[in-house]
């Protein structure tokens, strides 16, 4: 049975590192894995996703509507935008920190109210103020690895050597930060 994990957020939030680490963990766990990314124009502050599918044998690299087992949303509006790709009632791991888009920054539109409440009612929602937690750790950018920790717990990937994986992807100066961030997310 193929499982699908959709990462959704805004260009520059570090989605790629989270999905890369997840993919490495799934490979280490013996799964066939496919991962799909978006490059180019959308990366300039636009809505971006990466898609990870795993199982015994994976065919399509991309996730269809109502297909994702878990939606890891780095931003509430993006969680709403990609909700149609989640299995009805499926799991959302949500970073609650809001990033207003250009039409909101300019005052032309308002940031929509009530997204989190709606998701809590209609999905299996895990809300995390990962931004604040990451700032507490000393670096707002570690938000992506906190979310990854929470995802690892959700997928029961505790037997993976996460420390080694993290160390293979980040610079030594950031080992401790990311290891702490991962644990923080995992322990939620």
């Amino acid at each position: 049975m193929t499982k699908s994990i959709l990462f959704a957020g805004v260009g520059g939030q570090g989605i790629l590192l989270s999905s890369k680490l997840l993919t490495a963990a799934l490979i280490a766990s013996g799964y066939d894995v496919k991962m799909s990314e978006v490059h180019g124009m959308a990366q300039r502050g636009g809505s971006v996703t990466t898609q990870v599918r795993f199982g015994e044998k994976v065919h399509s690299p991309i996730i269809g509507k109502g297909d994702a087992d878990v939606l890891v949303a780095f931003e509430p509006m993006e969680a709403a935008r990609w909700l149609d790709h989640l299995k009805p009632g499926g799991r959302i791991i949500l970073n609650t920190g809001k990033i207003p888009s250009s039409v909101i920054l300019s005052g032309d539109k308002d940031y929509p109210e009530g997204i989190e409440e709606y998701l809590a009612e209609h999905t299996d929602l895990l809300s995390i103020d990962a931004q604040a937690m990451a700032v507490e750790l000393g670096n707002a950018k570690a938000m992506n690895v906190i979310l990854l920790g929470a995802l690892a717990k959700s997928l029961a990937l505790e037997d993976v050597d996460w420390t080694a994986l993290i160390r293979s992807e980040v610079r030594p100066a950031f080992y401790e930060l990311n290891e702490k961030a991962f644990q923080m997310g995992f322990d939620l």
Partner: protein
């Protein structure tokens, strides 16, 4: 050992393993990472960025003629630029194997059209190889070089966005060195003058016939027999979508050599099942050839010819099935379009240019395409690489002929100007139109992910390289009025445009010179530019809510509708200062150094 690789990375590895000696490309999404991924192998092979795809292909043709295995890689529209050498190298054939990688972009994720470049293979009468994913790259690339050398032909290797950018586990092999073919003069082959070309022409037709025979037994076309009554003929990533839809309830004929097709193999495959679908993205390329051979299949009467395919689209098209899913209320779905980054040096230019309302502005391909979107909305057109300058000329000349003296401005990036803007500018000089031509020089090829180009002073390996002097180039083309300015200084932008508007004896050029805010700065950048800038901050008491700063479109600026005050996000602000300059009340001031 297996590694997680994207299609692009796997193709790069395969090129290395196939003993390729020469690789040239111009960056373009979704193809860019192919050449970037060859850099680690630069001790064994020659790797370069070329100024455009035509140059890249011609250089690769040269390497092939010299007896080496060569590759040129490009995005689909790049092959339009390289179409001229493509059509004739089909006649000359090769010495060392020659593969042309075309990365198509169905769905236009990052492109201006979604042309299906398999049609080029038929037009040029050369073989076309496709893969469905990274895992197939090694075998397919090696076979492509075998075909190229055995049949004396260039080979089109066609990928698509999902193949280029999807990752899977790939087994690495060893590099097998290719023994170069000793160079000898061969004028009737490589001098495609009419007398020779006429002699080569029938050889091209013979080659297609030989390739048809080869196709029937090629390992690139594979059958998976599940004993089913339904058959699927598919190519590229569509193979995976089909397998997810039908699983083991279909037999599969996967076409890896999409031109020319193994028609007898297809005929017996179709005869072996009750119903046969042809599943391919974009054009009915495989399907039309099959139908032409009098074989009945089901294809584009059900499957869309526009956009990408996916599992949902196939299920709905073939069986009328729709997935079950929930949708968030409409009011949650506020748009998030891409925008110029915080500190983007293009912002200051567009912000000022917008004030000159009575101008037609032709745009070009790059990050600055976003100069056409709100709130800047300056450019009136985007067509293809270099078109800004030639279109501006055409707009001016035709309107002037009709008695309308409208001023026209072309806006083009540094790398795009070097790609194909220079000949356009030469036309404006030669035919004397007073167009204003702006080269937005952000010291890098930014849109595709920061590649070096002949204007940056470095090559693909990061080694110092000859650096184009844009001012000298345009002067050499015959431009008399050239102004080089700092686009973060709005006053200089304004004065430069005014000065060029006052000049009507021929075309003028404005070069805006400031590095991309996301660029990894070189030592030279640090020497030339003061990059440790003070961040901006708003003094609330002085802010009158005029929203001028908001109209710069900077993602670091936020406007509070209740308090009617603007604020600057100190984390993302890089201190370009454009908002400070835009403020008529001096309410935005210098804060901490970046």
């Amino acid at each position: 050992m297996k590694y997680l690789m994207s299609g692009n990375e796997a193709v790069a590895r395969a090129l290395y393993e196939a003993g390729v000696t020469f690789a040239s490309a111009y960056p373009g999404t979704p193809s860019t990472e192919i050449l970037e991924s060859l850099v680690p192998y630069h001790e064994d092979m020659y790797v370069e960025w070329a100024p455009n795809e035509k140059v890249a292909l011609e250089a690769a043709v040269g390497a092939s003629m010299a007896g080496f295995r060569a590759v040129a890689a490009m995005k689909h529209v790049g092959l339009n630029v390289a179409a001229d050498p493509l059509m004739t190298v089909s006649y000359t054939g090769v010495n060392g194997g020659l593969v042309i990688v075309s990365a198509d972009d169905p769905g236009m994720h990052s492109s201006q059209n979604e042309q299906d470049n398999r049609l080029y293979a038929r037009l040029a009468k050369i073989p076309c190889v496709e893969i469905s994913g990274a895992r197939e790259a090694a075998a397919a690339i090696k076979e492509a070089y075998q075909i190229s050398e055995s049949f004396d032909t260039p080979v089109l290797f066609r990928m698509t966005t999902r193949v280029c950018h999807s990752k899977e586990l790939v087994e690495e092999g060893e590099r097998v060195a290719f023994d170069p073919i000793t160079y000898e003069k061969h004028p009737t082959k490589f001098i495609a003058a009419p007398a020779n070309a006429r002699k080569r022409r029938p050889l091209v037709e013979e080659r297609v016939q030989k390739l048809v025979a080869y196709s029937e037994t090629s390992a690139l076309n594979t059958i998976e027999d599940n004993g089913a009554s339904v058959g699927v003929i598919a190519s590229g990533v569509s193979v995976h979508y089909a397998k997810e839809v039908f699983d083991e309830k279909a037999n599969y004929l996967t076409i890896g050599l999409t031109y020319p097709l193994p028609m007898e193999k297809i005929r017996s495959f179709v005869q072996s099942v009750e119903t046969c679908y042809v599943i391919e993205e974009l054009e009915p390329f495989i399907e039309e050839q099959i139908r032409l051979a009098g074989i009945d299949v089901i294809g584009k009467e059900k499957i869309p010819t526009m956009g990408e395919l996916n599992v949902d689209i196939l299920r709905e098209a073939l069986f009328g099935e729709t997935p079950t899913y929930q949708q968030a209320p409409e009011e949650f779905l506020v748009a998030r379009p891409p925008i110029l980054c915080s500190g983007c040096p293009h912002r200051g230019f567009f912000y000022e240019a917008k004030k000159f309302r009575d101008m037609i502005v032709t745009g070009d391909i790059g990050c600055y395409t976003l100069g056409a979107t709100p709130p800047l909305q300056v450019s009136d057109s985007v067509v293809c690489m270099g078109a800004s300058i030639s279109m501006a000329h055409g707009v001016y000349a035709s309107m002037a002929k009709n008695g309308e003296k409208k001023r026209v401005m072309a806006v083009i990036g540094d790398s795009t100007f070097l790609h194909s803007g220079m000949t356009s500018l030469l036309n404006s000089v030669y035919n004397k139109t007073p167009t204003i031509n702006v080269i937005l020089d952000n010291r890098i090829t930014a849109m595709t992910g920061h590649q070096e180009n002949p204007g940056t002073g470095y090559n693909i390996l990061g080694e110092p390289a000859a650096e184009v002097d844009f001012e000298k180039v345009v002067r050499a083309l015959g431009i008399e009025k050239v102004l080089t300015i700092n686009p973060l200084k709005l006053g200089s932008v304004r004065e430069a445009i005014k000065e060029c508007l006052a000049f009507d004896e021929g075309p003028s050029v404005i070069i805006t010179r400031w590095p991309c805010a996301l660029k990894r700065y070189s030592d030279q950048d640090h020497q030339e530019f003061n990059l440790r800038l003070p961040k901006s901050q708003v003094i609330e008491d002085l802010c009158r809510g005029c929203r001028n700063c908001v109209r710069t479109g900077c993602p670091s600026i936020r406007f509070n509708k209740e308090t009617k005050k603007a604020s600057v996000d100190e984390i993302t602000c890089v201190g370009c200062g454009v908002c400070r300059e835009s403020c008529p009340f001096d309410a935005i001031v210098e804060g901490e150094l970046r």
